[in-house]
């Protein structure tokens, strides 16, 4: 599966054709989660806890059930019925607890019951008739307070073996890694800076709320249509939660209006299936925006302490970080990821990192692009910026001096293969942005960022049609233009035009298990599998040509969409185009298809460097981002426009996270800003044109050199923007978001 030796001259890869799903999306023909209906369909609605932490004493749904429009009411009891999978464990148990509360409501917005009725309005009205008796318990929503000795315990026994003795039961996972001797390293430093930082939870803010249409019969056979980043995980999880066989539930992924990690799990799907099973009718369930904020998975909030020592020449002598991540009332906050990524861009002799996964009375966190990495980068890169300022050093030069390269031992353990960090830093230094003069009141910030990238289980099939066109079936929902990239890679191998290839996201009944569209893995892993499936089909095409020509198959090779004799000794035959072979394939051996499945391991880590200019209004504390440049290693950009889109999207979401987005909880533990008016995602006019530079240092683990690009782009922005704002304001900003009140207060204290 390694990188092709040929320093490939590509025909299709690297071009920028229109995306195949474009017309459907701009005309409204594309079907998203809420666009599907079924005959006899009911509408579901979910009753949610108004309390941050409460024991559920009693649920009385009799008044709702008495309504003629109401066809089913479900509570947790409707999930306990698991004939051949009793006693869910691990993540299945956590997901079940999250989609329908058990003994306790664990956060404001936690589902406690659900209704299916003949109309959406009837369902909502019925919810008001369900009486829930709560015994309100003390709650905690802040990460540091949740670790304090007097914090209320959210769930006893949730911690695993990794947690050192003596910690509060809300600390459920512990990670420690590093190498060298940090104390010895600090002793060599000319300057040591130690500081603390916090970031708030933010939501991915995908435009499409969760939505599904579920149908489950009493025979345990079901159909589910939903907006998801991974329908196999939805299939597996729903089957477990409902107690049915995985293969009996067919899941189809709709078009998806954004996910960014937030749609890698299930929220409403098991509830809709339970309602359907009870009512014996299809049930549609659609979240409103407020439910999305309150009850889906925002990212974790973080509290972090960083200590870095540096010599006068910019050499980092030692680095240490403690990262506490709050991920809601369930294990899963990515404290380990934050710790592992924080120092990953640097070649360090002495480094130590500690991560905590902490529970609090908030919704269960979900992945959000490079989960955990942006927070750590914010803290670490802020301290690096301060060291550069105090030592009078150029921030790009210092990062170049310490940059990890091929052969460096990563802060989290392994030794890097060929990576592109140095190339991104060199491109930053050479970019006109980096030397452009700043106006008074403006500041510039830079930051590097790292993400692992992922391979994951992948299965792809490709079938040729008699007219010479091809259909590709992938199992990874298209969240960023991946159908275009798959078609380009298949075109490259088959040698037929991009337009002649149709890529479909197949349902769970059509392919083997496919891991979720996450981990920046789709263009890498589904791409690799598409290439291999196409090559598999090419082998068969060559066999058919060999039969036609009456020569051994070894004497046939594939070139520019045609079978050709492999050399002068093979015989003198005209090139045989693909369509000529498929035209009579029924007579020469039957249908021609290709297939590939594997768990590819060579995803190839990815690095980026961002440059940001910010202007701060000293009288109001308001920040404008005046210029932004993203530089990132893509390995090989299959469709450069969609690579640039990922870079720009990461920067745009990072700008929101850095400046104004935050989950705001009141003293009562209720979420205060569960609408887009008060959850301040950037609007178009808040953003500058985001410039991009694609660096291509091929990934040795992919035939065409691809590295995933979806996640690294959100790692540097928080830090780069914080550095720009701090340099503009003349005061170090250590808390995100850097909202105007916070900046004005910091300016006053300066």
């Amino acid at each position: 599966m390694a990188l092709d030796d040929r320093k490939s001259i590509f025909s299709f890869v690297g071009t920028r054709p229109d995306r195949p799903d474009g017309l459907d999306k701009v005309t409204g023909r594309a079907k998203f989660g809420a666009d599907m209906s079924a005959p006899g369909m009911l509408h579901g609605a979910i009753l949610r806890s108004p309390h941050a932490h409460a024991r559920i004493v009693k649920i009385d749904a009799s008044k709702a059930e008495a309504l003629k429009d109401v066809k089913a009411v479900v509570t947790r009891a409707d999930f306990a019925d698991v004939p051949f999978k009793p006693g869910l464990e691990g993540e299945f148990y956590n997901v079940l607890e999250n989609v329908m509360a058990g003994e306790k409501a664990l956060y404001d917005g936690h589902a406690v019951a659900a209704v299916a009725a003949t109309s959406a309005l009837a369902a909502r009205d019925a919810l008001k008739l369900i009486e829930v008796e709560y015994e309100i318990l003390p709650h905690v929503t802040d990460v540091d307070k949740a670790m304090a000795p007097d914090a209320p315990v959210i769930r006893k026994g949730a911690a695993d073996y990794s947690v050192p003795a003596g910690m509060h039961p809300n600390v459920v996972r512990y990670h420690e890694s590093g190498h060298g001797d940090v104390e010895a390293g600090f002793a060599e430093a000319d300057l040591i800076i130690e500081d603390s930082f916090t970031t708030e939870a933010t939501h991915q803010g995908y435009i499409e709320p969760h939505a599904c249409l579920a149908s489950l019969g009493m025979d345990g056979k079901g159909e589910l249509w939903c907006t998801t980043q991974g329908h196999w995980i939805a299939q597996k999880t729903c089957a477990a939660l409902l107690g049915i066989e995985t293969s009996q539930l067919r899941v189809t992924a709709s078009e998806i209006g954004g996910g960014f990690g937030g749609k890698t799990t299930v929220f409403i799907e098991p509830v809709a299936l339970a309602l359907s099973r009870k009512a014996n009718r299809p049930v549609k369930l659609v979240m409103n925006r407020s439910e999305v904020f309150r009850a889906t998975g925002p990212t974790a909030s973080a509290s972090m302490d960083i200590k870095i020592g540096m010599k006068k020449d910019g050499t980092i002598t030692a680095a240490e970080g403690i990262f506490r991540l709050q991920g809601g009332a369930f294990p899963g906050a990515p404290g380990d990821m934050t710790a592992m990524c924080a120092f990953a861009p640097y070649d360090l002799t002495n480094v130590r990192q500690v991560g905590y996964d902490v529970m609090a009375n908030r919704p269960k966190q979900a992945a959000y692009r490079a989960p955990g990495a942006p927070m750590g980068a914010f803290a670490v890169e802020s301290v690096l910026d301060e060291l550069c300022n105090q030592l009078g050093l150029d921030p790009v030069d210092v990062r170049l001096k310490n940059a990890a390269a091929e052969g460096s031992k990563a802060s989290y353990g392994p030794t890097y293969e060929r990576i592109g960090l140095v190339e991104t830093l060199e491109a930053a230094k050479a970019h006109p942005h980096y030397s452009a003069p700043l106006k008074p009141g403006q500041g510039r910030g830079i930051s590097c960022g790292f993400w692992f990238n992922h391979g994951g289980e992948t299965s792809v099939s490709l079938a040729l049609s008699e007219d010479g066109s091809a259909q590709v079936m992938v199992g990874t929902p298209d969240i960023g233009g991946s159908r275009a990239s798959m078609a380009l890679m298949a075109a490259e191998v088959l040698g037929i035009p991009y337009e002649n290839i149709r890529v479909t996201v197949a349902d769970t009944a059509s392919l083997g298990y496919n891991d979720v569209s996450h981990g920046s893995r789709v263009t890498y892993a589904s791409g690799l599998a598409t290439i291999k499936a196409a090559r598999h089909a090419v082998e068969k095409l060559c066999e058919r040509a060999a039969v036609k020509w009456g020569i051994p198959v070894e004497a046939v090779k594939w070139e520019n969409g045609c079978a050709v004799p492999s050399g002068p000794n093979a015989g003198d035959f005209d090139p045989l185009p693909l369509a000529d072979i498929t035209a009579d394939m029924g007579a020469t051996g039957g249908p021609i298809s290709g297939h590939f499945e594997a768990t590819p391991e060579g995803a190839g880590v990815s690095f980026g460097t961002h440059i940001v200019d910010a202007e701060v209004d000293p009288e109001t504390g308001k920040t404008s981002i005046t210029r932004y440049t993203v530089i990132q290693d893509a390995g090989k950009a299959i469709h450069p426009t969609y690579v640039e889109g990922q870079y720009q999207g990461g920067a745009a979401q990072g700008i929101g996270w850095a400046l104004n987005e935050e989950y705001i909880y009141g003293d009562d533990g209720r979420l205060q800003n569960s609408i887009f008016l008060d959850y301040r995602i950037p609007v178009a006019s808040d953003l500058p044109m985001i410039d991009t530079v694609i660096v291509e240092v091929p990934n040795p683990g992919h035939p065409f050199g691809v590295r995933g690009v979806g996640e690294t782009g959100i790692v540097p922005p928080l830090a780069a923007i914080a550095n720009a704002v701090s340099n503009a304001a003349g005061v170090r900003m250590k808390q995100l978001p850097m909202s105007p009140p916070r900046i004005l207060a910091a300016l006053k204290e300066k």
């Binding site: 909502r124 205060q672 609007v683 006019s685 207060a745």
Partner: protein, 288 residues
């Protein structure tokens, strides 16, 4: 829920007077329908006032004053060839509301009667000295804008009363008005502080002024001390500082998710200065 579309304000008033439960008038509906959909307020009676004769008219009266129908939208105000020349502050305040879609629906009266302390057009209307015609069971009376809101979500209108027209005074000579708000983003946000300033010059000297503040107290404030700080000056630095101090002193804000007390108080002063400068420039006939 009952829906009515009366043909006159007398009829609208009678419908409202006889309705039980929660009654809402339906102008643009950009507050009413949003609150309905989000289950914040589910009215029992909806009285649509858009079908009444004249509610879409923008009229310049013989004395130079303006009468606006209660269904005139923000977009219609911005596109009017003359209204914005007389009252750029009122028009720019209304224009800040929402998006293009919202502008096609939203009205001054709806903005006022929704009762939000952060309503954008209200400080501008207060500074401009706008009055409302209020039709009730006993006939029609004229009320100053600042006398309508009584607290968040509440107005002084009594059961059966409906606003039937918006009256903007004649601009006169050497006058200018302006409105500015502070929001953390660049648009589609709710004012953390809003300031309206309207003034008239005698040469370079401010002869008359009205200064109003939004989002810093339970209702819009007409800040007489702030006006006094600039009347008789040519808006020099000392006058601006006195204006800022008076504006900040008038604030009685809350700490909430949208801004802290300290922040709102401080920024009210900053914005008062910035807004006064624009109004002053406009009064001098400069483009601003």
């Amino acid at each position: 829920m009952d829906y009515h579309s009366p043909a006159s304000f007398a009829e609208a008033s009678a419908l409202a007077e006889n309705a039980t439960g929660i009654t809402r008038f339906l102008a643009g509906g950009t507050d009413v329908l949003v609150q309905l959909r989000s289950e914040l307020v589910t009215p029992d009676t909806l009285i649509d006032i858009k079908k009444i004769d004249g509610v879409h008219d923008v009229t310049r009266n013989a004395d130079g004053s303006w009468t606006l129908g209660v269904a005139v939208t923000g977009a219609e105000m911005s596109e009017h060839p003359e209204l914005g020349r007389d009252w750029p502050g009122v028009v720019e305040a209304m224009d800040l509301i929402g998006s293009t879609q919202v502008q096609g629906r939203a009205t001054l009266t709806g903005n006022l009667c929704n009762g939000s302390p952060a309503a954008d057009s209200v400080p501008a209307m207060v500074a401009a000295g706008v009055t409302l015609s209020v039709t009730g069971p006993g006939g029609t009376r004229e009320v100053a804008v600042e006398d309508i809101p009584t607290g968040p979500g509440r107005t002084s209108l009594v059961r059966g009363e409906v606003i039937s027209a918006v009256n903007i005074p004649a601009r006169g000579e050497n006058g200018g008005d302006a409105y500015q708000r502070f929001i953390p983003r660049t648009e589609m946000d709710i004012a953390v502080v809003g300031v309206g300033v309207n003034l008239r010059l005698d040469g370079d000297t401010i002869a008359e002024a009205r200064v109003s503040l939004g989002a810093v107290a339970p209702t819009v404030l007409l800040v007489k001390d702030a006006a006094r700080a600039i009347v008789g000056t040519a808006l020099d630095d000392a006058a601006l500082e006195a204006l800022a101090a008076a504006a900040s002193a008038a604030c009685n804000p809350i700490d909430d998710k949208r801004g802290t007390i300290e922040f709102r108080t401080e920024v009210a002063g900053v914005l008062a200065k910035r807004t006064a400068k624009v109004a002053y420039a406009r009064a001098k006939g400069e483009q601003a």
